[in-house]
């Protein structure tokens, strides 16, 4: 495995093999698998789970990592091509990225969407501008429109819960949040559930439709796997018989990059906070998923997070295990 950039690059069998490996590494540790191997970790966007879980993953496999982030060492890094660097920035990504990559056997890169222009973000212009600079194996630790590590972990969580693939009903629901957040997690989650073969419903208010290209990618994945993708703004209809509700806030795609109009629209939907009444016609044991961090009392009620429906901590722990499997395959641990 040279890149781990998008679940779509892997067959369902390959994904199942990664999940099986992740589970095996949990019960049968391999602290010699990656001895002396180094993972470079470049955080151009902030992180808690990703920062911690990748470092822990490398240690558990006998290797190590180092972290570079703008707060630490690369203030004002320049990314514009052809620029005369007579301002604040002392280094250009064209040097920084290859150098950081050269110290590792692989590199993880996190760079959120710019959220100015949806087409630029859909084309992953920024992330691609970074990975184009290197030959090293790399891992997408969240880009403008993808978060494959989260999705692999979530797939494992669904397996751990014995949620059926074909016939399983998965609701991806928008939720209120005071800020306009990136589309990476909803985009990756929608595709993951569809690729797993589930019947996926995107539940969102008008103005928060996901981009057509993302919907189409998910529909194709669902068709290949025996699932389906629909969307609605009707909560009760969406939740009917649901095995899973995966909540996440995201930007309005009607007002992408326009904070003021986005905010006006989202503030009409303060009631999109997942609480027990949402589950009225769901499966009795319908579970609540979220990638974290999550705002209590805003995105989801305490009663859900603190009750038996929530599997958010298990999801977060599966981040580490899923990444251990990816690193094990990528860096050549004996299998």
């Amino acid at each position: 495995m040279k890149y781990f950039n998008d679940l779509a690059d892997f067959s369902n069998e390959e994904i199942q093999a990664l999940i099986t490996l992740a589970a095996r590494l949990d019960t049968n540790p391999e602290p010699e698998a990656l001895r002396g191997k180094v993972l470079s970790l470049l955080f151009l966007s902030p992180s808690l789970r990703t920062l911690a879980s990748f470092q822990a993953a490398m240690t558990r496999l006998g290797g190590g990592s180092f972290v570079i982030s703008p707060e630490m060492s690369i203030h004002g890094i320049e990314s514009r091509p052809g620029i005369v660097m007579d301002g604040a920035a002392a280094e250009h990504i064209r040097e920084a990225i290859p150098v950081i990559a050269s110290y590792g056997d692989a590199i993880g890169i996190r760079a959120f969407a710019e959220r100015k222009n949806i087409d630029a973000d859909m084309q992953e212009n920024e992330f691609t501008s970074l990975t184009d600079l290197i030959d090293t194996p790399y891992i997408n630790m969240e880009s403008a429109m993808n978060h494959p590590c989260q999705s692999l972990a979530d797939w494992k969580t669904l397996d751990d819960l014995n949620v059926p693939a074909n016939g399983g009903k998965f609701v991806l629901s928008w939720a209120y949040h005071p800020r306009a957040l990136p589309l990476a997690v909803p985009a990756a989650t929608l595709h993951m559930a569809a690729k797993r073969g589930m019947d996926v419903t995107v539940l969102r208010p008008e103005g928060f439709e996901l981009p057509q290209a993302l919907m189409q990618k998910a529909i194709s994945a669902a068709e290949a796997a025996g699932g389906s993708v629909t969307e609605t703004d009707q909560r009760s209809e969406a939740m009917q018989g649901a095995h899973i509700i995966y909540a996440k806030s995201w930007s309005s795609t009607h007002h992408y990059g326009n904070k003021i109009n986005d905010q006006k629209l989202r503030e009409q939907h303060l009631d999109w906070c997942v609480d027990e009444p949402w589950f009225a016609n769901a499966k009795d044991d319908c579970r609540f998923m979220h990638c974290l961090p999550v705002r209590r009392g805003v995105v989801v009620a305490d009663e859900i997070l603190d009750g038996p429906r929530s599997v958010v901590i298990a999801e977060a722990r599966n981040r580490m295990l899923a990444q251990m499997a990816v690193l094990h395959q990528m860096l050549g641990g004996a299998s």
Copy 2:
């Protein structure tokens, strides 16, 4: 060992076994003992020695660690129960702590006293609110009123110096400092010396008495071990025949949480700076201890820190060794 939270949880024999193990790991390294094991390090309060010594300890035992601190990744973490999180904080401790803990085989947590209400701090309300959220083995890296890693290291330092347990005279002295500092180190040090069976004198000006519950805990520990605990504001009386003076500044307990009144009181005691005349009637080889960091010329004179009485660097190095012993026992290194 599931928790390392308070020396009082361990018998003197158990403590001696840890110190023996610490010394053995110093001379006979075990770089395979904890291979592939991970220590999560959560610093809600700043650190130098603790930050460095825990990372070094895990590496020396063949494992690794990762560090999470507010400066890095968890700006404005929320801790109030039942809050609607529509402000700056993006994550609640109820998610953050279990997730961080889930990536490690054990977690170290540092959270200083709030220093608003002495009863809340004496009850360790904040630290307990964190450890109540997890099942993972944990280590107290300094809480409101405890610092067991410092105390275990200091006990080892006393052993290294051949200071007698029964019959050894230990002076814990308040010293001037421009800021109102936490009670954690004096509380832990008082109890440690008493539990070791020493004759302990708390030397402090009026207004800086340690809380009665701490005094009583120390008196009980001393009685069980054949030692004693007294307090005085008379320097010469306290230092008579002393083997050790352990200096530390702390808040006025009369004006706890009231910075202005605390400052008025402490500024009457600018002369509480340990210098050579303090040792006039102490043992000839009476040693100076301090947990560091220490303000030169304020808490203690250069002549003491730079002279043969000071053992502060040895104390700090024993932090690493003591923690290696704790980690070795906690994480199941072969013994």
Copy 3:
């Protein structure tokens, strides 16, 4: 090896042995060589390559490291002797440095020049004030006037490129930069190329002459190795037949510590930006070297950095390999 502070402390044979070891560790990893060994990394000045490459180096050899920097844990550390510490600083280097060193088997220290007084900087007053406090083996990770890790890496890069030692022509050229930068890299580079036996030309405008003591040290090294050292402000004369141009900006030595006068002078030389015309009478395959970070369009044109002349990424990767060799010798890896 107890210290790695200056290439001048080592014979050319010792340096070649380190470079041979560096190359061997690249092709034949030794992930057990330094198992359980710890490198303390103290950054009193900022870093990207040094920060990343030392951490990666220790991991590749089976050990580990920890990082201490002012941003993290040691705000306002005091260094003045005899000071009464009643201000902001809570810790003095006389405690901090020995403690940090005590947790490692060796310590790397980075402390840039103060750039107030050139004599103080030439005498390495600050760096020496730190290393005088410790007995631990140490590595100079850049001091006021030296950067031996960069020089060892650069020497290896020259070997990798088959640039001749005797008879090879090396141009160290000043370049424009909006800020007055330290002399450490030009000082170390000049000496390295001279010690390698090359014919070295220092190309710089008037006012940017390197200090006489540095020139004399290089001349002595060149004489011993069969090389030469000259200086000029004539670009075409300097570049005649050059195998290598190593560009770097540095402070005016005429106006050292005087930012305003330095700036007036350097702004007369905005045209000192290395581009293809500089190479008119150089060897056809003359290469461009720089320690990074480098400002594009200011120090060097994009056409050079993005073209076949540039070896800056290889130089940066050699930092890690050179440091692995130093650490392997210093910390007793089996050879």
